[in-house]
Symmetry: C2
Subunit: 362 residues, 2 copies
C-alpha cells in the first residue's frame, strides 16, 4: 500500500498542475508535517512534480531522517534554511514558475524571494495544502478519535477531584495531569477553566479565581495524539444547579445535539451554523451565542472549514469539525458544549463520547 504521505504529495502535484505552477514553497509547519511527517519547529519544503526537498537545521539531524525517510531529499543547514533552498532551486532547472504560501510567509521572507533572482518567478497562492488537509483519510480520523478518547477519559478522571474552593488553575492542573496520564503528547491550546461569571467569556484562560458552590464551571481543553488534536468542552455546576442554569444548559444541549445529528458534507458553513443557531434564537437566547458554531480540526486545532454565519464555503466530505454552541450572559455565566464530529460519507460520526447530562458536582 502506498504511504499516505506519497498520496498527499501526489495530490498536491495535481493541484500545482491545475494552478499552472511547476513547484510550491511550503513554509507552514503543519502543512510540512502533513506532507512529510516532519514534526520539528524549523523547516522549509519545496515540492515539484519531480521531487520534494526538505530543509531543516542541525538540531533535527537525527529526527528528520527518522520521520521523513526517503520521501524527500533532506538538507540539514547549520546557518540559514534559505541557503539550502537556493541550492536546491539552482539545480531544479525545470522549475520556472513556483508558488509560495501567501498566508504563511512573512514579508521579510517574501523579500528574500523577490531578491533571489530571476528564476523561478514567484506567485502567491492560498490554501493549496490546507484544502487537501480538510478531507481526512481514515488514518487521520483514527488519530483524532484516539486524541478524543484521551480527552474524554481525562475529563472522567478529573471530575471527582473538583470541589468548591479550588482555583481554576488547580482544576486545570488536575485536568492536564489526567491528559498526560492518558497519553496526550501536547496541549494543542491553553486550557480554558472558567468559573462563575468568567464562564461568560468565550476566550477566558484559567485564573487564580476560587470556585464557589452554585457556579458554572466551563472546561474547554484539548488532547493530541500522533500529531492530531481533539477539542472538547463541557460545562458543569459546582453543587446544585438553579432552574435558570438548567434552562440555559438544556437549550445549549439541544442545539449541540440537533447540529451533531444534522451536520454533513455539502452544507455551507453558514447552513451548518444555522442548525444550532436557529434553535437557540427560537428559544430566545440568540444574542447570547456570539461566536460561530465550530471549526475544522486536525493537525491544527483550528483549520478549515469554518462553521459560522459568514462562512460560505462547502463542508468537504471527510472533514472533522467541532460543534460548540454556547450561550453567554455577561456577569452571570455561560454554557458551552463542544464535540468533535467526522463528516463521513455515511453521515456525521461523533468522535467525542461523553455525556451531555448536566453534571452537578457535590
Amino acid at each position: 500500500m502506498p504511504d499516505r504521505r506519497s498520496q498527499r504529495l501526489a495530490a498536491l502535484v495535481d493541484s500545482l498542475t491545475t494552478a499552472h505552477l511547476d513547484g510550491l514553497l511550503i513554509t507552514s509547519l503543519p502543512n510540512i508535517r502533513y506532507l512529510t511527517g516532519f514534526s520539528g519547529t524549523n523547516a522549509l519544503l519545496f515540492v515539484s512534480a519531480r521531487d520534494a526537498c526538505l530543509v531543516t537545521d542541525f538540531r533535527y539531524q537525527t529526527q528528520v531522517h527518522a520521520e521523513v525517510g526517503d520521501l524527500a531529499r533532506i538538507v540539514v543547514e547549520s546557518q540559514s534554511l534559505w541557503s539550502g533552498l537556493w541550492q536546491h532551486l539552482a539545480q531544479a532547472t525545470h522549475v520556472e514558475v513556483a508558488g509560495f504560501e501567501s498566508a504563511n510567509l512573512v514579508h521579510r521572507d517574501f523579500q528574500r524571494l523577490v531578491e533571489a533572482g530571476a528564476r523561478p518567478r514567484w506567485r502567491a497562492t492560498m490554501d493549496l495544502v490546507e484544502a487537501l488537509r480538510e478531507r481526512k483519510d481514515s488514518d487521520e480520523v483514527a488519530l483524532i478519535r484516539a486524541a478524543a478518547a484521551i480527552a474524554t477519559s481525562a475529563l472522567e478522571a478529573t471530575l471527582p477531584s473538583i470541589h468548591a474552593g479550588m482555583t481554576e488553575l488547580e482544576v486545570a492542573g488536575v485536568l492536564e495531569k489526567s491528559l498526560r496520564d492518558a497519553g496526550s503528547e501536547a496541549f494543542p491550546f491553553p486550557s480554558i477553566v472558567a468559573s462563575g461569571p468568567r464562564s461568560a467569556l468565550p476566550h477566558a484562560r484559567s485564573s487564580s479565581r476560587e470556585m464557589a458552590t452554585g457556579e458554572f464551571l466551563l472546561m474547554d481543553f484539548g488532547a493530541a495524539f500522533g500529531g492530531y488534536c481533539a477539542d472538547v468542552t463541557r460545562t458543569v455546576v459546582i453543587g446544585t444547579a438553579s432552574d435558570e442554569q438548567r434552562a440555559v444548559y438544556q437549550v445549549v444541549r439541544q442545539a449541540n445535539e440537533l447540529a451533531t445529528a444534522e451536520v454533513r458534507a455539502g452544507l455551507r458553513g453558514r447552513e451548518a451554523d444555522a442548525l444550532a443557531r436557529d434553535y437557540i434564537e427560537r428559544c430566545g437566547y440568540g444574542e447570547g451565542f456570539g461566536h460561530g458554531l465550530g471549526h475544522g480540526l486536525g493537525i491544527e486545532v483550528h483549520e478549515a472549514p469554518r462553521l459560522a454565519r459568514t462562512a460560505d464555503g462547502l463542508l468537504s466530505s471527510g472533514a472533522v469539525v467541532t460543534i460548540e454552541p454556547g450561550i453567554y450572559r455577561p456577569g452571570w455565566g455561560g454554557v458551552r458544549i463542544e464535540d468533535d464530529v467526522h463528516l463521513a460519507a455515511s453521515g456525521p460520526e461523533l468522535l467525542t463520547q461523553f455525556t451531555h447530562e448536566l453534571l452537578e458536582l457535590t
Copy 2:
C-alpha cells in the same frame, strides 16, 4: 507616576521619529501586549505621535476595555480588523509615511497594505518594538522573577514523585500540575521531559517512554506570570549516577556557573556564548554542545538578544537571558542546566534559584 505603558509608547514614538516615520502598524501580538497590556489573540495596533488605536474583535469587547483603558482608542470590529484600521487611517491625515513589521506581517496582509491606496506610504521595519522590549524595566523583572519562583517551586514539588518505570508523559503531568498549583497561568512552550538516550535530543518533547534506573532525566519547562515567562532546565539521574554521567554533568555545571557569573550587558552575543563554550571545549566536549548558550526571555520565551556563536549584537542593559549550556552524546544521553539571568547595571542577577548539585533520585 506615569504608567509603564505610556513610557513605552513614548519611547516607540522617539524611535519612529528617528526612523522618519509618522506611524507604525504593529501586528505582533507580544508587541501589542507590551505596549498596551492587551492579551487577546486577535488585534492590530497603530501608533503615531498623536495617538494609538487598537482594533480587536467582539470576543474581546469586555477584556479589551479592562486591559487597555484609555491608553489607546479602542475599536471593536465584528468582521475584519482591517476595516477598523482603514477607518482610523482615513482620519489620521497627519500620517504620510508609516512603517509595518516586516517579520510579523504575512504576505497576504502585506498585500492589503499595498492595495489600500496612496496614503500612507508604507515602509518595512524590523525590531522597533523588539529593541525596546530587550531592556526590561523593574516591573518586568519582578514578573519574570515571580515566574521563575513558580518554576523552581514546581520542580521542588515534582522531584519526590519521580521513579523508574514512570513514562516521560507521566513526569510531565506531575510537573505541569505542580506548575498550575504554584500559580503558572500558562505553559510558555511544550515541556521537554526526556530520559535516557532521548536526553541527547536538544529539542525532544515528552514521550510514552518508560524511564529506567541509571538514566539521565532532562526536564526543560516554563512558567508564566503576569504575561512574563521563566524557562528552566535541570538534569537528574534516576538511581545512582555513573562516573561518566558525573563527569559530563560537572562540566556542564561549571560552564553554567562560569557564564552566569560573567555574563553582562555590553558583551556581544558571541562573547557571552564563549564564556561557557570555551570551557566546554577545553574539557574536550566541544562537539557535544551543538546549540547556542541562550536567548532573551520576557513576554515571549524566545526574544532578543541571542547568545550564540553567530550573534554579533551587544547585550543590552536590563535584558533577561537564559544561560543553558549542554553536552549531548547521541545514543548515550545529554545534560543541560539552564538558568535565567537579569543583566542588571550592577552585574548579573540570577532569577532561578535552584541547586546545581547532581540529584540522584532513589
